[in-house]
Amino acid sequence: MSTGDPWDEPELESEPLDAYAPELDEPAGPTVEFVECWRCGKPVEEGAACARCGARPKWSSIASGGPGPRAVRSVGETAAVRLLAAYGLLLITSVVYGWFIRFGLDARAFAAPDAAESQVYRMMALEAFDAVLILAAVAWVPVPEAVGKVSTRRAIASWLASPLLLAVALGANFGYHQLILRAAGLPDVQDELVQALGIGPLLILSICVLPAIFEEIFFRHLALGRLRGVTGVHGAVFVSSIMFGVLHIFAPLSIPILMVVGVVLGYARVLSGGLLLPILLHFAHNLIVILVHAS
């Protein structure tokens, strides 16, 4: 039963069969089974060629006396597999980047401005590569359409609450990092990077703009949108924020707190109904972090 909440799952509600009566006036004939196209993953009538990509059904199993074209997976499962495959590629990219920077523990990396600049170029390259992967994932992973519009009141409330959400994310982030760095007696590596290079357009682009846009597209649009139908809204926010945190392998000590930040951004997405609020929050969060480190 719908409560008017767009994040309820109406696709799971059963509609009265009378709703379909006008389309079924003709006498019942042979039933039509829909299976998943083996090439593009879209629903296709069993035994027919796919209208989208033209793939013919595989009949080899019928020839051998088998059950016929197999319904390999549901469409939802195909999308979930593709999503996880795309995430796996992003994870591999992060691992490779982590090898290159070795978590920034090498203080010599920031001994000269050239070294700091090359670090920023490496970050730019990582973000650019991630952007290409994410755009490919957007084209490859089918995303369910939005269930319904968020009410205007809720959207306005989420925007009004955004400074509070940002404060929560920043407070948790700074508090956690201060605790960890003091416990380990480590210098703040990002401080050295920002102070060696200064805040310039390159740094802002690589740390604030690109991650805000593309990470939100992947985690709060693709992942959250796809997982919502399987795990529910809260489960989708939970899992997508874990994926978001784990992706930052090159800063392993930050992974737990980034999961918390991911939860904040996830609920910003859910409550506002759009991607703009989480993108702006993510941008503002990263910008404030580098401004604090530069001071």
Partner: protein, 176 residues
Amino acid sequence: MSYDDDNLPPPPRAGAPTSGRKPLGKLAQSARGAELKKARGILLAMGILTIALNAIQFPGIGSQVDKLIQNEQQKGVVIAPEARDTLIAIARIFLGGFITLGVIFVLFGLIVQKFPVPITIAAMVIYLGANAVLAVFNFESIFAGIPLKIITVVALVQAIQSAVAYQKGLREGSYS
């Protein structure tokens, strides 16, 4: 181009021949329940093993760091004396982090039957992430215990599939 799962045709009217979908029999239901129990067992085992293996290493951190410093000094690297304390602190933080991870897996195992899908997917992501972090530190660690890692990943994938099917069954009313 947007796409949604509702492109499939509407369900047939009552009385019309169905496409053959029937509610799950008791055998299938018990099979799914058994898969979820297996998932719980895997998560509990992973958690307890992780806690045990990392807790054992705690007392020997100092000697391991000394060995590491010795190796680096033999290669000609100059290491300041205060770096020892920093390295020990970092090692303690990482071991503590992995022990926390073990506790999280145990908790996941205890609640997996209540929230099967999010917990199994989260467990998979965290497990892969933890191995990826170790791989960045030491590439050879990917190959250490690889048969067990493959078995664990396969078992987690099966757990996710069972959890999704179990949840679908609950929603369709196949399960009481």
